[in-house]
Symmetry: C2
Subunit: 298 residues, 2 copies
């Protein structure tokens, strides 16, 4: 029987939303503003793709999704920090995100900057110490902390953002857009699903296969994002379409054309699913998510 | 025989400088700019107080300073990131730091912002994974990662920075300046010496005593910084004096007066040294550093 992805995603999202609500205390005292600012962006109804992938990665290798929940939440904190910093005037200067004013529009640039810093830092506290995490082998946890840090830092997401900004308005080779996508978006998505597989007790070959899956869906995800910015519906997206073109952003479609971009994302989804051939039905959610990633409306 | 603090600090600094130089690879390829930007601020000749305290904390409980070197370096990465973000126009808008243009003056605001993000993230990778660290018990390492993250994040340094910014130009109670100091500066200094004691294998009572020491020197350090900004020599400091008053920064002397501020820092150094009474000569560097902290010229 084919699984129902919609039900699966809803179940996972509800567990993750509940956990994310509990990350920070009620805003009060001197920390009230920073907590309010962090929660404003963290609890704004994202897709929660990275935490879901982390949990699905653990389940694919026979682990329990709930055991990796702190790491899954940490990945969403890191993703959220990157969006807040990305939206700042010195970066992309965006006013809208998920249909609401961006963080600095509400809290001011200084608090938004610090809210990003606070989310990134708290992500590592979450990974190091919560009760649920401590059911996991500490050496695996250290390995995952290192993997996530590498994926989020200058070797990964931050490195991709630098090249992204520096490439705006320039003519670039397809290899540069591939670098930006693999680093800016792909690295953290790959780390999400791989860290789930590691903490879930996956064997070396399983972790390798899931990493290959992650690399492919990471790129497919970013191409899909680029395509949504061209062909999507601003109501579903919660922001105006065409922003990439206005900002002269380097995107896959702008470099290789619409047709080739669509072909590439489909090939990557197929490659991702092929990478999972060593797994049984427990990897079905990962298989379905790969397809969902390029068919989603936001 | 009384130890020679100058020799001790020089020896430690030289080990730390060497290790810090090795954190990032030679700047090349797409990551060249972000590496150059991170290294520009990381290798600009700071006092290296936090790494030294971490190593001295380990030695006080009978551990090896070299075993905690990756964590010691990570603390300096976190300190450096906080300075880069603090200097940005949306925060303190400073042009000079340690006698050189601030990071964003050289690399631009976007790259400086990302360099801070990259340093913070890399700090956690360093703590999780280097060879030297792995001689340490993984559970202790996870404890230290959690401790450092709490000290650096919204419960600590980031929380202090928010209140600091929001208090500029306002009349505040002494309790507010104490909150800012304890969080903005004290928390990471305390985490530095405590994490050394934890990783060095300290017993509960030893770690508690060293934490009390850290809290006291952390506050004394920030009061000394405030006093240097009033009475210091701009050549030693590498930046103009009087910046706090011009920016209407909340400082200890501005709230309680010069005389009371000087009394308080002396009392805190005495309290810090008293906290170390359970230790033998192996804690002498910590004792000497407590005095150095309020007698330094930069």
């Amino acid at each position: 029987m084919k699984m129902d992805l919609k039900v699966y995603l809803e179940e996972k999202r509800s567990v993750i939303e509940e956990a994310l609500k509990g990350v920070f205390a009620e805003p009060k005292g001197p920390e009230a503003d920073i907590i309010a600012s962090m929660n404003y962006s963290l609890l704004s109804g994202g897709k929660r793709l990275r935490p879901i992938l982390c949990m699905a990665g653990a389940e694919a290798v026979g682990g329990e999704g709930r055991d990796v929940l702190p790491v899954a939440c940490a990945l969403e904190l890191i993703h959220t920090y990157s969006l807040i910093h990305d939206d700042l005037p010195v970066m992309d200067n965006d006013d809208l995100r998920r249909g609401r004013p961006t963080n600095h529009k509400i809290f001011g640039e200084a608090v938004a900057l610090l809210a990003g810093d606070g989310l990134l830092t708290e992500a590592f506290r979450l990974m190091s110490g919560s009760d649920a995490t401590q059911r996991v082998n500490p050496n695996l946890l250290l390995k995952v902390i290192g993997l996530v840090a590498a994926a989020a830092g200058y070797r990964g997401m931050v490195g991709g953002q630098v090249v992204d900004i520096q490439s705006e308005g320039k003519e670039v080779q397809p290899s540069v857009v591939a670098f930006i996508h693999a680093h800016k978006t792909g690295a953290l998505i790959t780390a999400a699903v791989s860290s789930g597989a590691i903490l879930g007790g996956g064997k070396e070959a399983q972790i390798e296969a899931i990493t290959r899956y992650g690399e492919n869906i990471g790129l497919a995800f970013q191409i899909a994002d680029d395509l949504l910015d061209i062909e999507g519906d601003s109501e579903h997206l919660g922001k105006p379409v065409g922003g990439d073109a206005r900002k002269k952003k380097i995107t896959y479609p702008s470099v290789v054309g619409l047709k080739k971009a669509k072909e590439t994302q489909r090939e990557m989804v197929e490659e991702a699913i092929r990478a999972l051939k060593i797994f049984d039905h427990k990897a079905d959610p990962l298989r379905e998510i790969a397809v969902y990633i390029i068919e989603r409306k936001r």
